[in-house]
Subunit: 361 residues, 2 copies
């Protein structure tokens, strides 16, 4: 069966049969080249086992003498033919899994496949206590919290129910459904130390590599680079929390309509490990200049402001960090998910340019 | 950098640096051919949105007027160049995610990549309320239950702490760690109706397809084939629950050292939808012939017995089902995870033979 026919069949069937949560938009782009993969697979890394004292009774098992493995991460990797020397390890943000980097909500290729096509080995992670790495050594309660509209605002798709006029997000309702179904809960308490421990174990496996982080993943990303010298560069998309500064140089917390953003102190020797690698941070569009009562926007006003202080601190200590606020270089309409927006090829080109400038490709 | 060098570096680094949960065994097999992929990506299917009445307040959000999307599944797909006509959709079992079908615990290729290499488009699913499809419309509590030793027995690796002499499972401790870290919890109540609803939405998208199920996935697999005529054949690996019979023909429940296995009734018209497609069921080794107090073994004695009644019922109603107890055809030592055992190529060959006989390839 011809692939194009198959796809046409998918979409026709989908459009005629599906319920609310089943279909990505049809693609109009020409069929891309095939991808040639040398090796692919998955593994866990990091984590620990905890054991209840006693002797296991095979015939009447209780917790006595039994262990649980938890707090590891899950990684899926693909190595293309004739790979570039440095792999890319991709760490998602809050409420997300590795799916963040896969197909975009409107059905196009995401950064997993785009950077694979550009010759990089790609490792896509589910952090500990999330997604396929769900086993946690600490209990959690999962509530079906109704957050769709809050996310629409907070991820800067618009001000619910209105899309921003310039937003790089497809208006098909199925696109929004695919986006909202990429949300997946924590299965244990969020812990940047646990995450960076497991990430460091991935970097032990990959060898020297580039780290991409998104949003809440930014903080564990800095910690991973502090823990493991195999991190040779960081591309951070809209880091949202976990901004660390040298003890004694920690800026004031920043209040916003979405709550107060704290900065955190670490020993200067730890901080300065981040000055040895190139770092670039990207933020998208529709940030307010002045404080606003619009929660979804104001949340990002303080994060952008904190990131600017953070970049200045890195550079003051001899580092090489850069913050790119995309509207300032003429790239408009990006949401919090720059890498899956309608212009994600343009964003990938920005990243490729950075990697080339820094000789990381 | 040469791939073989890269892998050598992975494993040396891993062996020297990793904690307990970080490394797969080194492979000794010759480097396989590259895989040529036309298209890959992921999507959600099925599920629903539930909404709290009221109006969303962007400036002070509460649950009022907000929705949650949940109960969908997640699927990752790859379509090889020159694909065979029927894709394969793979549904995992209890405590597992799509990772079941990926890399084996000892680091070799699993059925995802093996059947991709054999020319099939492959769709690997995380069922609703599991893995990357974690959002549930119903709350759940997640306890870090200590089950490693119970799983060792129940998945027939051995009788903890002793491996079965003939078991097709690598003895490297890292292999067991990779196996135990593939465990991931339910993030909402287990519901075969929810799962088969979402699976049916995948089948709407794929068109005619073959369904592979494992263990607890067996039950939702039968329900999916009843709901969607696009299921053209089923390969069930060690179905463990959800055995459905025509109302009035339901066999007695079967007690065992691991609890009582019930059979379930459905209207005969529903049941007979399963008589229109070829079905094969595989079970592995180390089943007891007589009842035993060894819980991990006795659990499977009754499941095998029930599956034999089930196959007889399908065939009595004019169907085409077959049960293969692998030791009876000379294939020994298989665990509950046949498709990732050391002899998984031999198991894949059995499956390929079935698909060819049934003209499903």
């Amino acid at each position: 069966m011809n692939i194009s026919l198959r796809n046409a069949a998918f979409f026709l069937l989908a459009l005629s049969h599906f319920g609310i949560a089943a279909v990505a938009s049809a693609q109009t782009a020409p069929k891309p080249e095939a991808i040639v993969i040398e090796e692919q697979g998955s593994f866990s890394a990091g984590g620990k086992a905890v054991t209840t004292p006693g002797t296991f009774n095979n015939k009447a098992p209780t917790s006595q003498g039994q262990s649980i493995h938890g707090d590891h991460l899950y990684a899926f990797f693909q190595i293309p033919q004739n790979p570039r020397p440095l792999p890319i390890v991709m760490l998602h943000g809050a409420f997300q899994s590795g799916r963040s980097w896969e197909t975009t909500p409107d059905g196009r290729e995401g950064f997993q496949t785009i950077f694979l096509r550009r010759g990089f080995p790609v490792y896509v992670v589910d952090q500990p206590r999330r997604g396929r790495a769900g086993n946690s050594t600490v209990a959690a309660a999962i509530e079906p919290t109704r957050y769709d509209q809050l996310f629409f605002d907070q991820f800067r798709i618009g001000v619910w129910p209105k899309y921003y006029d310039n937003v790089q997000f497809d208006r098909d309702p199925n696109t929004l459904t695919q986006f909202l179904t990429s949300v997946t809960p924590n299965t244990g308490p969020y812990d940047p130390g646990v995450i960076s421990h497991a990430m460091s174990a991935v970097l032990d496996r990959t060898g020297p590599a580039i780290l991409f982080t998104h949003s809440q993943g930014g903080g564990p990303g800095w910690l991973t680079a502090i823990k493991n010298p195999n991190v040779k560069g960081i591309v951070a998309f809209e880091p949202g929390s976990g901004f660390i500064f040298p003890d004694g140089e920690v800026p004031d917390s920043m209040p916003s309509a979405a709550g107060t953003l704290p900065a955190e102190g670490v020993p200067v020797q730890e901080f300065e490990k981040l000055t040895r690698i190139p770092i670039v941070i990207y933020y998208g569009d529709n940030f307010p200049v002045e404080p606003t009562s619009e929660r979804g926007q104001d949340n990002w006003r303080v994060r952008l402001a904190m990131a600017k202080l953070w970049v200045a601190a890195i550079n003051k200590h001899g580092g090489d960090a850069k913050l790119v606020h995309l509207p300032e270089i003429g790239i408009r309409g990006n949401t919090h998910f720059l890498f899956s927006d309608l212009n994600n090829i343009e964003i990938a080109d920005q990243v490729s340019k950075f990697l080339a400038e820094q000789k990381l490709d």
